[in-house]
């Protein structure tokens, strides 16, 4: 399956989705002007991946900041991961960033996927 690799920018996150090497990661800042448009390729990639996923998947969120329009799309991404077997979310937050930790906890309450919380 093709690798999805988006370079991060000052208002968009870095995204790598690589089935062969088992790398699934969204990191950095997310405040694009059009969040639905920005996350569309991610959702499309996950839909394809869901048809023949790896036996287990660790999907990494390592976000420094995201705006509210992105938060809705992050929930859409999480929801699209929900039905994939062996899915686990690795939610990273900076050790003194309580807001990012709380955001992860809230997402974990909204979807049925195991979350592991880690600091960086």
């Amino acid at each position: 399956m093709e690798i999805l690799n988006l370079e991060g920018a000052e208002d968009t996150p870095k995204i790598i989705l690589d089935q062969k090497n088992g790398i699934f990661e969204i990191s950095g800042r997310s405040l694009p002007e059009d969040s639905a448009e920005f996350y569309r390729p991610v959702l499309e990639w996950i839909a394809k991946y869901g048809a023949s996923p790896n036996p287990s998947t660790e999907f990494v969120f390592k976000l420094e900041y995201f705006n509210t329009a992105s938060s809705k799309l992050i929930l859409d991404v999480l929801s699209s991961l929900e039905d994939i077997k062996g899915m686990k979310i690795m939610w990273y937050f900076h050790e003194d960033d309580e807001d990012m930790e709380e955001a992860g906890q809230e997402f974990s309450e909204l979807v049925e996927i195991p979350f592991e919380f880690k600091t960086y």
Binding site: A36, D97, E106
Partner: protein, 182 residues
């Protein structure tokens, strides 16, 4: 040219560290954020307070980009809005002002009053309620901006709608972010 000095004195007395007036786009949003971030960094501000201020700034700026009404008055078509950041000893204030059609005032006023009536847990519940049920609007918003600002602020949103003309009010919003951690 006294107005230059007057404006300078107003900015000093109001402890403003940044004022921008004009058209607001994603590009100006990024520039303003970069300037404000450099300023806050160079002041040695605590990282978690900086993040909250950044957060409120983004929502406030993107609200203007997405929702500010175009002012049409005869020949004049204007998108001009204003954005200000103040830093006092005990808090940051993120302020904005933009034209809003009078027909939109009531709905916005009720929304903000509802947000202000909620406590911390109430805001969290409202946030989760909206994020579960919302779809991204044509304008690209999730309907979560004010709720998020209130959560990051920890205080009430301050707002007024002074009249501009027969058809427009000027929506003024002030969000405080305390500099002392809880």
């Amino acid at each position: 040219m006294n107005f230059i000095y007057d404006l300078h004195r107003t900015m000093m007395s109001q402890k403003l560290i940044l004022v921008y007036q004009g058209d607001f786009t994603q590009e100006t949003t990024k520039s303003i954020l970069a300037m404000a971030e450099r300023n806050i960094d160079s002041s040695g501000e605590d990282a978690s307070i900086k993040r909250k201020v950044f957060n409120v700034m983004v929502e406030s700026l993107q609200n203007i980009v997405k929702h500010s009404d175009e002012l049409v008055d005869g020949e004049i078509h204007s998108h001009a809005a204003i954005f200000l950041i103040g830093r006092e000893n005990n808090r940051y204030t993120i302020m904005s002002g933009n034209p809003i059609r009078k027909s939109n005032v009531k709905g916005l006023d009720e929304k903000l009053q509802h947000i202000n009536s909620l406590d911390k847990d109430g805001l969290k519940d409202l946030y989760k309620e909206i994020i579960k049920n919302t779809t991204i609007s044509e304008k690209g918003g999730a309907g979560l901006g004010f709720v998020d600002m209130a959560r990051k602020s920890g205080g009430k949103l301050e707002f007024e709608f002074p009249e501009m003309s027969a058809d427009y009010c000027f929506f003024c919003l002030k969000v405080n972010v305390p500099r002392e951690l809880e």
